[in-house]
Amino acid sequence: MNPLQPSPYLLDCQGLSVTFRIDGRDFKAVNNVSFQLARGEVLGVVGESGCGKSMMALAQLNLVPEPGYVSGGRILFQDQDLRAKTERQMQAIRGNRISMIFQEPMTSLNPVFRIGRQVAEVFLKHQNISRKEAGELTLQALEDVGIPAPHKCVNDYPHQLSGGMRQRVMIAMAIGCNPDILIADEATTALDVTIQAQILELMKSIVNRFDMSILFITHDLGLVAELCDRVVVMYAGKIVETATVTDLFDNPVHPYTDRLLKSIPKIDSPVDELTIIPGRVPNLTELARSFCPFEPRCLISSEVCRNVSPELQKAEKDHYVSCHHYGEATS
């Protein structure tokens, strides 16, 4: 890659690996993962539990919890490698240039401080402004995320708000400093369906209004269809398929993606029996390293799948897959 030519991407993650050291043995939660995020784009990262999507998100901001650590790869943000930055430099980036919101709004907010103070804290940390100015920015931020009566809300404690409200506060804190990237890790999973719809609309408006990129992590393919422009599918720590969202739904070429899409009950097209993926999702200690991680559950696997790890290759324009037999699954 030519270092003189700036990358067209806002975030360019290359060969990222996250390793966990347990009882003296190493387990790879994220295994050589690469993806790119452009400005104003919503990239979905979809996968089931244990696929490594959350670890991958945390790795972007160097927040991987012990005993895990980032063991390889580069994370280029605006052409600078985030892995080369000190903790101090990362603190200046978190909440300011790249923000993250999590699944549980209950535990993401400090229960003993008022909302106003917690939101203002973000502004005070990253901008050289007075408390009064931070207070005004807080009210504006709360209004931006659609909280009714922000003047009342700033004096409330987290337990006085509902789950949807708390998630909005989290979003307000995350986008307050107008970051380039928002990482949302299962941000709507814990919310009721009607509240989830509200938050989704909010996210869409944020992308439009602020030209913000979102790295949207979820297990729900429906949300991906709603919100995302491109999608990355992860399984057991590896990326198995990446494509535009329409391409993925119309033409899934990896056997996992294909069966996953077919195994979800759909409201508008009910079936009698759902397609299943036999077996179960491997947990961290079972991750194999030398061959395709999906092979044990794959119906079209062969000898080569057991012995050679498939790498990400181009299936079609802007559609990559890591499978030796891609395309053969879709019937």
């Binding site: 509902s162 009607t194 729900d220 429906g222 329409t246 979800i264 759909k266 029996e273 179960r280």
Partner: protein, 323 residues
């Protein structure tokens, strides 16, 4: 109306939980978790109960089995008054109605081997002969897809999907006619959900079970239920045949709920009714129609009185003043 006999008849069911501290003289506040529910469940059917958090569906599940005491109302199981039974009769009836919970991690005793967990109901009801019981347990384990050789393992050695299967085996061991499923697949991975849902359907076909299937996920409910009841703040606001409900939902809440579901393909564009505000506090439900505070078509008359259940057609009722 279906021609099958009702297996469960519920009328005016209420459950109010006292909350807050007890002060001498003043009346204690209550959370009206279930506040006047009446419906029937027919033999062999799968009735879905759908609603968001705080609507009372989990409380309803426990009331139907009399796992928690009822504040008011009647429950008849196959014609006999469930609430009037004494302990012995209740114990006998319990063989016929079972429950499966949402969380596969807390619904199995972590200190017991799974063989013993499935065996326990048999022992409670005095099924004699350990060899006899072992055979029953073995057959059930194979039926739900758990290898019998693993009967000596503990729950934490299994995955979420497998634990849910173990819970299903335990629910089936006494040959019940009715099984209440409280969000049984919500905590499972998507690919495992499909396995367990197929298992539910197959078991129903084989054993002629009646299900009450509770979930917040309408796609799952659609897949498995033929009749659906929608709950909001402790009341049923719409009950209908599944096809009819999805084709033409009558109640504005049901309409909003359906419109809130994410699309299943990126090319589908949905017209959304976004509800404003949050679910009201069940301690102080709104006066009149409980939904009027968030309803997009609410009128002044809606806050005056609670709407009764109106017949849309023979299989479809909804409680709204404006339909």
């Amino acid at each position: 109306m279906t021609s099958a006999a009702p297996i469960l008849e519920i009328s005016g069911l209420k459950k109010h939980f006292p909350v807050g501290t007890w002060r001498i003289g003043s009346k204690r506040e209550t959370v009206k978790a279930v506040d006047g529910i009446s419906f029937n469940i027919y033999e062999g059917e799968t009735l879905g109960i759908v609603g968001e958090s705080g609507c009372g569906k989990s409380t309803l599940a426990r009331l139907l089995l009399r796992l928690i005491p009822v504040t008011d109302g009647r429950v008849f199981f196959k014609g006999t008054d469930l609430l009037a039974m004494n302990r012995l009769e209740l114990k006998r009836i319990r063989k016929q109605m079972q429950i499966i919970f949402q969380d596969p991690f807390s619904s199995l005793d972590p200190r017991k081997r799974i063989g013993k967990i499935i065996d326990e109901p048999l022992r409670i009801h005095g099924v004699r002969g350990s060899h006899n019981r072992t055979k029953i347990v073995q057959k059930l384990m194979e039926r739900v897809g758990i290898n019998y050789e693993w009967a000596d393992r503990y729950p934490h050695e299994f995955s979420g999907g497998q634990r849910q299967r173990i819970a299903i085996a335990r629910a089936l061991v006494l040959n019940p006619s009715l099984i209440i499923c409280d969000e049984p697949v919500s905590a499972l991975d998507v690919s495992i959900q499909a396995q367990v849902l197929n298992l539910f359907k197959n078991l129903q076909r084989e054993l002629g079970l009646t299900y009450v299937f509770i979930s917040h996920d309408l796609s799952v409910i659609r897949h498995i239920c033929k009749r659906i009841a929608v709950m909001y703040l402790g009341k049923i606001i719409e009950i209908s045949d599944a096809d009819d409900l999805f084709a033409s939902p009558a109640h504005p809440y049901t309409q909003a709920l359906l419109s809130a579901i994410p699309v299943s393909h990126p090319k589908h564009v949905k017209k959304r009714t976004i509800l404003t505000g949050d679910v009201p506090n069940p301690r102080h439900p709104p006066k009149g129609c409980r939904f009027h505070t968030r309803c997009p078509i609410a009128e002044p008359s809606c806050s005056a009185s609670e709407p009764p259940m109106k017949n849309i057609n023979s299989n479809h009722q909804a409680a709204c003043h404006l339909i």
